[in-house]
């Protein structure tokens, strides 16, 4: 729990998504608008950005043509997939699948689906890198954790590094969250160095006040030269908002999963490393728990 607070501010980088399902997305291919992808966090003391919005638009005909090509390509693929069945697979195959691999790391392309961030964004001194492992078989997340708090007078905790998947986008940059409701266990094959990690799941928000909600659980690594398979039931994930665990816990609704992230922030200065082979899902019929956290009456009558 103490990890939770200081660690999570980095993962709110998707606050600008609200505008994107409107008409604007149709012009997106023509207008290269640099969306602030990573965060809308403003460091204390920095002046507000006064550049007028029209100066942020970089019109480029070349880029527009390329955009149209790729997006219409995506659109045709989407249509074909839709005809085939859910997620581009036959319906029976989709419904009967016991396991599925969501992310694997076998090429540079796979790494492009992930964003890494560290407390350098808030003025800290941690470093984080992501690269492909030996024989292009895994992803290695490594770096140095540094808990030195930036001297800006407001920040109180520092020292985290994280990696987070990008939300899945389909043609014209419409978001297409994952539907994992067929499964109930997260399966990871990793090799760490003994540090604890936190796994954060961000669901696609319906109301804008839910945009900071996050579901998290911990992943402990054994260390050593062997790979280990870690299974985490989704029922164990606890609900937090803006880095604070909430009193009213509820189960993680798996029908609209936007992103998944790993965070290290165990307050120990030094290098860290995590190798990830793949991230998958399992349907375990023996696991029936829905939410592991019972609720109590806030003001009991006695």
């Amino acid at each position: 729990m103490p990890l939770l607070r200081k660690v999570l501010d980095n993962v709110y980088f998707l606050k600008k998504w609200h505008c994107q399902n409107g008409l604007f997305s149709l012009f997106r291919p023509l207008v290269g608008c640099n969306l602030k992808w990573h965060s809308n966090y403003k460091r204390p003391g920095t002046p507000p950005d006064k550049t007028p919005p029209w100066k942020k638009i970089h019109f480029s005909f070349q880029k527009g043509i390329e955009g149209i090509k790729t997006h219409f390509g995506k659109l045709s693929k989407e249509i074909v997939d839709h005809v085939k069945g859910p997620e581009g697979r036959p319906l029976l195959d989709y419904m009967l699948s016991q396991t599925t691999v969501i992310w694997e790391f076998r090429s540079e392309e796979d790494l492009k689906n992930w964003v890494i961030s560290s407390d350098a964004e808030i003025g800290g001194k941690s470093e984080v890198n992501l690269k492909l492992g030996k024989n292009n078989q895994s992803a290695v997340l490594f770096g140095t954790l540094n808990t030195t708090v930036p001297r800006d007078g407001e920040t109180r905790y520092s020292g985290y590094c994280s990696m987070r998947s990008k939300p899945r986008l389909v043609a014209f940059d419409r978001k297409n969250p994952y539907d994992w409701s067929n499964f109930n266990i997260l399966h990871l094959r990793v090799r760490g160095d003994g540090r604890p990690w936190m796994i954060n799941i961000y669901t696609d928000p319906y109301f804008s006040h839910q945009k900071d909600d996050l579901y998290s659980y911990f992943m402990f690594t054994r260390g050593g030269p062997y790979w280990e398979e870690i299974k985490i039931p989704f029922s164990k994930f606890f609900f937090s908002s803006r880095g604070r665990i909430q009193d009213h816990q509820h189960e993680l609704w798996l029908d609209k999963i936007s992103t998944l992230g790993f965070t290290v922030g165990d307050k120990v200065d030094g290098p860290f490393q995590l190798e990830i082979d793949y991230i998958g899902l399992i349907k375990d019929r023996a696991h029936t728990e829905e939410c592991a956290y019972e609720l109590y009456d806030r003001n009991p009558k006695k």
Binding site: L96, V101, K134, V140, D193, P196, R222, G224, Y278, N299
Partner: protein, 429 residues
Amino acid sequence: MKCMRTLLLARELSVGRCTVLMKDLSKSDLLPLQKGVCLQNSRLVSVRSIHISTCLGTTTAPKDNPDNSKESTNRSLVTVEELFERTSVDAKNRASFQQAVNIFSQRDIRRRGHVEFIYAALKKMPEFGVEKDIDVYNKILDVFPKEVFVPHNFIQRMFNHYPRQQECAIEVLEQMENYGVMPNKETKLLLLQIFGNKSHPMRKYQRLMYWFPKFKHINPYPVPDLLPRDPVDLARLSLQRIAADLDARVTVYQLSHVEITDSGKSIDHPHIVGIQSPDQQSLLAHHNVDRPVFVEGPFRLWLKKTCVYYYVLRAELLPPEERKEEIIDPERNFYYPMHLDIDLERDMWDDLEFDIDEVEEGPVFAMCMAGAGDQATLAKWIVGLQETNPILRQIPVVFRLTPGPRELQSSIDSDDNREEEMSQAQRLK
């Protein structure tokens, strides 16, 4: 009694008869009262603010302390921290910290400036080494005056009653949370007395008590809080952790000692602790003698705040044409079958295989931890391993060590320095 006297005195003062009383009072007693009067320009408030805890009884009336008059004239903000500096002249420890808290509590009956004091105390805690001590946290919470901040009517309860004080108490609890200190019954009692039942600090306490026990034992590979001091014990603990095999046997190949040769030169012999499981032994026994094995490392392992390094004896992955399935002779064992290939009626639901090519890596034959990471030390480990693995006398051993610690991954052998490595390969006999 003394308390009652001060109470009466306060009332008298507020009414305005101070001139009479002024004379027969010692100055040190009066100073805090005077301040109170000028700040609270009302006739009744002074009565409210003198509630005293009966529970813990640490609240005592101000004593006639010779320093008292000196301190109260000093109004700068630094005074609070100065209190800690003064008590910790000799040593910064638990006793001096508690002494500072005691001095503050006894200085003034109203505990003026207690919020600042508590913030300062929280900041000083790691310096004094008491950041994981629940009793000290309770002592700090005890600095709050009792029953003053408890809301009395519904309006007070509805609005944030004494917000600065509540925030301060939450800060105390948050620091406890950050250091993993579980609050106890006394904490609860204190919070109830100070802020009342449904206050924010009480809620924070309830949250801590809900979540802490839930996450206390979720680590499947627990690390003891106090790691063994002895490097050999530490190495044993960490090797057993990473070996992930209960059959694995730890062997201490060498204890650290200093040898003095005849010429008077002293040679340090660092400790070498290794681990090998029966499975690894049989893997090594079947290893192709023509292919070298590698000593790699150092690799990092974190045990909470401690970082240790280990070395691995491993081989490269065999090329696919050399891999062969070992066929077990069905008559090798007459009592039970060594290999079962029964096509069980497996249901569709039982298939939990992932459709993925798994990462394949060369086998690991043994692991060790040593006091020094040089080649000579690790060669001793290999010599020690040869006793239990005679085949190791025929296999060339290549040392691929890096000067500093490195990642498991960077063992990618770039082909250009491959020859160089091979040249330093030792054929140990």
